[in-house]
Symmetry: C2
Subunit: 412 residues, 2 copies
Amino acid sequence: MNHHDPLSALTFYRNSLTLPLQQYKVVDLMRSTGGLSRSDLARQLGYSRATITGLVKDLIDRTIIREIADAESTGGRPARILDFNASFAYVIGVDMGATSVDIALADFRGELLLRHREPIDVKQGPDPVLDRVATIMQDLIQQAKIPNDKVRSIGIGVPGPVDFLNGVLSMPPIMPGWERYPIRTKIQETFPLATVVVDNDVNVMALGELRSGVGKGVDNFIFVKVGTGIGAGIIVDGGIYRGSNGCAGDIGHIQADRNGPICHCGNVGCVEAMASGSALARQAMQAAQSGRSPILAEYLAAGVTSLTAEHIGMAAHAGDKVAMELIKTSGTLIGEVLAGVVNFFNPSLILIGGGVANIGTQFLSTIRRGILSRSLPLSTQHLRIDYSPMGEDAGVIGAVALAIEHIFVGKL
Amino acid sequence: MNHHDPLSALTFYRNSLTLPLQQYKVVDLMRSTGGLSRSDLARQLGYSRATITGLVKDLIDRTIIREIADAESTGGRPARILDFNASFAYVIGVDMGATSVDIALADFRGELLLRHREPIDVKQGPDPVLDRVATIMQDLIQQAKIPNDKVRSIGIGVPGPVDFLNGVLSMPPIMPGWERYPIRTKIQETFPLATVVVDNDVNVMALGELRSGVGKGVDNFIFVKVGTGIGAGIIVDGGIYRGSNGCAGDIGHIQADRNGPICHCGNVGCVEAMASGSALARQAMQAAQSGRSPILAEYLAAGVTSLTAEHIGMAAHAGDKVAMELIKTSGTLIGEVLAGVVNFFNPSLILIGGGVANIGTQFLSTIRRGILSRSLPLSTQHLRIDYSPMGEDAGVIGAVALAIEHIFVGKL
């Protein structure tokens, strides 16, 4: 298989269904706002009522949208609310982590129908991993009795920098064998009619919170994933901001301490090298082996072979001073780096997710303190900082939303 | 005068001319692309050719746009290119610095007609300063024989954080007497028919480069002003990104060194406290008085009362080792902070402007090195880092562009 397909950018939308631009705009608006009446559509799109009536008729004829009765109207002729037709198409969302994959089948309205999660190891390389992913997807649609050709779009979040247009990973630090591997083409061997959209995992999580979570209606926010690595998904003006090379949000390699340790990227004192899940795991092993932390040492003695951030959380909860200190240092460093991001970007919401978000509230509160101690008061006046309420679901929900956004393409 | 006007947000567009939404969209598109044919408009807006013909006729009838012959067409009936009618309205752009003001009168197409620059001192407070600004504006329109009611919009860039909707400064560090002063109302005493738009000076500079400079057509870029303070203007998707409180881009208070000096904001090691024009001026005085820099000491001996960043530039040019070192340290710190911004935002262009940009090419090259040494290769693959070619003109050109963007408001 050719790993450098110059045509893939041109064929990005090859499988997307083409809609006339005005019909597309109706669909696009409904996607971000939910059910609307014809008058709502006319007002928000700036089209005449007659134009809207025609467009809606076309979309109903194509079975893309349908009318649902307006429950609130009582007398006279009720204004009909329009909604998507759930069975028009189906999508699959894939949240791929370094060690597990979470796959959901959803209808055209984004409702999850079936979901499957299992361990994988991305280091095995793209072919075996994606073969397994394709098999799971096949199983899901068979279970739901949905024919292959009804799956119109597949969204995939992957843990690394993505060249979005080409749908390939670009210099991925934790999955080196995937460099420019044509994920899209590979998945289309199994789903030849589906559009396949690949994006960075954190972007996808941010999209999940934007479309179905607390990010709904929030113009500018950041989703920060603290897991093996540290990264951010950025929402600007109701959409994912990807930057010029698709690698916006790569905050893991911002310097947290110029006297810090050397990071795997070669630079000194990156926040990822000092405060990520893997940094915490390393610090936990040191604290256990040196005897500084009796509780972490107990875990080792009890047969745990490798300590993780979660063990630190448990130890801190049990009163271990060293574990508490590790959490505090990590949260503070992350908070200080995010303070710089806040001064630059002035978001109204920061959501913290990823595995390390499960270690307790002390982590969140030190991140908050770190941000507030180094930001300007004006920037933080209306800033909310919280754990992602979706938690581990954000990835797969976002992947479904990503898929739905690419079913159609508008054309003149 | 009431400094807390709750109505001002509602009256933001009070003086803007209302256009039906579709006409507005034609005007808005032409503003960002320049001269277009009717077919270009139809294609880019997704309106039918008949709709465009009607809209264009309305806009020509209102004397907002006009036809100019297509020079490139030779045989048959030439496609007419549409352009703005220069004399439909006039605007004024004001670039207010801490110590000087730069004011330009421009026509509806953004061509500068007259310009005036003079020293001011914003510390005198808003009333005397804005009285003087109003007098200069009056002088300019009289000189150009333009009646007061033809001035439809005034754009003002100010050196501090701006509450954009209310048009007031919010906690401005270098102009404390201006806190929430109603600049808009004050200017409208002299120009009652004009829309008055107030924005942060660096945002306005970024807009200048976006509309008329090297930023034309660049989706994501940053304008960094290194003057008395340090700040950035952010362009996302062809427009100014202001953030949730209008204070996006406040990079001067990002930490450059956790062991650095205390900043006037109260935090430790802000890049502004270590690398701005005022920091350099302070370091120059120390180097001269301690005798470490013979050339800077000479300037003092020759009667210079206060050394500036420009003196450091001159001394470095003359071979002074300490001056070179000061430039290198400042550029490196700014570069390292911008590296964090690059990792987060992944821009394709960074423009450096402000007074310190005049001290020579060594400053730019150390900023570049600082950015490249701490950014990921993927983020900097297509990144261009340069001095702003507009230099000191960016502010006033941007203020004119800001004014033009607010002449009209679209309404259904």
